[in-house]
């Protein structure tokens, strides 16, 4: 009997390709995604290049040498040529705030040596620490080389007994000062990012679940019955789209209200940006759910495909792991997902505190992709209208 039960279950599994996919292929796929993120990203020292600019306010031989040294560092990408960077400190701060660069380095004179002020975005905690280490190392190496040269010069030209002790160079102790231009005064710098990440992922799951209701209606012939009334397929899809969007928006609102109550995320202070980002993200996610539902034949198929797609999009798009720890290629691939665009938008709202106009690229991408998905869903649903 036990053997028969075992056999029956094995046979059922073999007859169910979607279950096989979820059992054997999906774990491998996810292992591979995370292996690429962590193994090919930070794990083997190929940290993605950090976008920086340098403002050489001293403009001396020493500071120029330091900048030259830094430009050769493989971990940094200079977004503007150091010689062409003619910005004020405030303009540099704005670039960091807008996310155009990850960090701005301001080189200043301190005594006869160089000191660097790093204007950072503390949401990328890895970048701040990494650049601090790189810049400190470069300054210290330059200092050591300078002092060795001085010692050699003194040893050959100064009479014995004339040499005094080495100057006590205070800049050697702490040559890099980090200034957090965005996170200052914020109680919990990354919690809004995680709130958005998780909320968007569940928005997608919710949307695919909502799409599943359409397939359920089709399977139990309610859909045909509905279409035999005055209801048209256009009205049905639009009704479902608006419903799923409303539920998704409410879901996000509840999530962020909780984040405000418990973790101090300032929802009320950013409500306009939050609302428009949430609404457009929910519209896009709902259209995605409807597209998947109309592309699938059964709820089982939808369930399997949606799990794979949503988890993959969430992993690549930054819902699970911040995209800044991923390699540059993965970050680019991430832009093919709803999650990345939505999270970038929420990042602008809650972290960078940019005005609503700054959300235009994210809103445009989400809205256009949502409309395209909805149109595709409508085209696919034609086959259900009449056979």
């Amino acid at each position: 009997m036990i053997w028969t039960v075992w056999q029956v279950n094995v046979r059922r599994l073999l007859h169910n390709p979607m279950e096989l996919l979820l059992t054997f292929i999906v774990p491998i796929a996810f292992f591979s995604i995370f292996a690429v993120i962590f193994g090919g990203g930070v794990g083997i020292g190929t940290t993605p290049k950090i976008k920086v600019i340098a403002l050489d306010q001293w403009d001396s031989e020493i500071s120029r040498a330091l900048v030259n040294d830094l430009t050769e560092n493989p971990g940094l990408r200079f977004m503007r040529s150091p010689s062409e960077t003619n910005l004020s400190t405030e303009e540099a701060k704005q670039l960091v705030r807008r996310g155009s660069v990850g960090m701005a380095m301001i080189l200043k004179q301190e005594g006869d040596s160089v000191a660097v002020e790093l204007l950072t975005d503390s949401s990328d905690q890895v970048a701040a620490q990494l650049v601090t280490a790189i810049v400190t190392e470069s300054i210290v190496q330059a200092k050591v080389a300078q002092q060795q040269q001085s010692i050699r010069f003194a040893a050959t030209n100064i009479p014995p007994g004339a040499a005094g002790p080495l100057p006590n160079d205070r800049s050697m102790a702490n040559p890099v000062q980090v200034v957090d231009v965005i996170g200052e005064g914020k109680s919990n710098p990354v919690v809004s990012m995680y709130a958005a990440g998780i909320a968007v992922m569940f928005l997608l799951f919710g949307a695919t679940g909502g799409g599943g209701a359409l397939l359920e209606e089709r399977e139990n012939q309610t859909l045909e019955r509905l279409l035999s009334t005055r209801l048209t397929m256009d009205q049905l899809l639009l009704g479902k789209w608006f419903y799923m969007t409303a539920i998704g928006t409410l879901q996000m609102l509840v999530m962020f209200a909780w984040a405000q109550l418990v973790f101090g995320v300032d929802l009320i202070g950013h409500f306009d940006g939050f609302l428009i980002m949430t609404l457009v993200t929910a519209l896009a996610a709902s259209a995605f759910g409807l597209f998947l539902a109309t592309a699938c034949r059964t709820r089982g198929q939808l369930s399997g495909i949606s799990v794979v797609l949503v988890l993959t999009m969430s992993a690549l798009g930054g819902s699970m792991v911040p995209r800044y720890v991923m390699s540059e290629n993965l970050q680019q691939y991430g832009l093919c997902t709803f999650n990345a665009w939505a999270l970038d938008g929420f990042d602008k709202v809650f972290w960078r505190e940019l005005p609503v106009e700054a959300l235009a690229p994210q809103l445009a991408v989400l809205l256009i992709s949502g409309i395209v998905m909805l149109l595709a869903a409508r085209v696919l649903a034609v086959r259900w209208e009449m056979d």
């Binding site: 139990n220 012939q221 309610t222 045909e224 019955r225 509905l226 279409l227 035999s228 009334t229 005055r230 209801l231 009449m386 056979d387």
Partner: protein
């Protein structure tokens, strides 16, 4: 011929054809229903009944032929609102209450909010589900679901109601309840086209029976007309005698050319064309053979005989 036969049909199909690949599901079907008429489409599973209902309700596209509803081509904007569809499946929202389902379908059929609320009250009474109005339909028995399923199809008071196997899988009690509901609709003047493969349902619930097999209409008329057209008006007579026969009985020539009955059996079976005259002659012949009659059964030809005669097959599945 009644006055109704002079009225234009409320639903008319002309040379309708539909194929799925190489399978011809409907083959040159022409059919007309007059106002208030109840017509049963009788046929085995796979005969094309459901496809025909789907074509009429606009869910399946015709390959050929034309249809008219209330004298207008089926393509006329809004004309299909004269139709009500009750599908074979329980096509309801199981996670909504009876009242919510009824209200939703009233709205989908174009009723205003107020009219929908009024119609829901009527439907609850009609189905006898007033006390279950706030219960989730998903937890109902099969018979109760069928009643709600039926009610959802008539929320907009359609002139023509299409029912696809409306009593599949329900117990006899629920079936009778559904029949009563249909009778009320008929009394109110609703034209009914129902598909069934149950002979008694076709016989009880319709004025006219259309027998469909392999996508074609093979007979159309009242039960008596069908019988007359196919097996004729003969009756099956079973006569039980007072003791086992010692041998076949010799009968009058106009009753049977050959002796009837088998040695050792106490029942004689035959067919007669004219009950009023031939039954008396038959009983007289039995007595002339020296036997007393202890029981007589006279059977009219059934739809089963008609179907068998027309198709050469019993009503079958698949």
């Amino acid at each position: 011929m009644t006055a109704a036969h002079h009225e234009p049909p409320v639903l008319e199909l002309r040379d309708v054809e539909k194929s799925f690949g190489s399978l011809r599901a409907i083959d040159s079907v022409s059919l007309a229903l007059r106002g208030g008429e109840a017509v049963a489409l009788l046929g085995p599973n796979g005969a094309g009944k459901t496809t025909l209902i789907r074509c009429i309700s606009g869910l399946t596209r015709l390959d050929r032929g034309s249809m008219q509803i209330l004298g207008h081509p089926i393509e006329t904007e809004g004309i299909r609102s004269a139709l009500g569809l009750v599908p074979q499946e329980i096509a309801l929202y199981g996670d909504l209450t009876t009242k919510e389902n009824l209200y939703a379908f009233a709205r989908f059929n174009g009723l205003s909010r107020r009219a929908s609320r009024e119609r829901v009250g009527w439907a609850l009474k009609w189905t006898g589900l007033e006390k279950r109005a706030r219960d989730l339909v998903g937890f109902f028995s099969g018979g109760m679901k069928r009643r709600v399923n039926l009610a959802c199809g008539v929320m907009h008071s359609p002139q023509i109601l299409l029912l696809d196997e409306p009593t599949v899988g329900v117990d006899p009690q629920s079936r009778q309840r559904i029949f009563r509901m249909l009778a009320e609709l008929r009394d109110a003047g609703t034209t009914i086209l129902l598909t069934t493969h149950q002979l008694d349902e076709a016989e009880q619930q319709s004025d006219r029976i259309v027998i469909v097999d392999q996508g074609r209409i093979i007979a159309d008329g009242s039960k008596d007309q069908l019988v007359e057209q196919s097996v004729g008006a003969s009756r099956l007579v079973k006569i039980r005698v007072d003791r086992p026969l010692k041998g076949p009985l010799k009968m009058q020539n106009h009753l049977s050319g050959e002796p009837l009955g088998e040695t050792g059996k106490d029942v004689v079976t035959t067919r007669i064309d004219d009950v009023s005259h031939h039954l008396t002659d038959l009983l007289h012949s039995v007595r002339q053979n020296g036997y007393d009659v202890s029981d007589v059964e006279v059977h009219a030809p059934s739809l089963q005989h008609v179907f068998l005669h027309l198709t050469g097959n019993e009503l079958r599945d698949g």
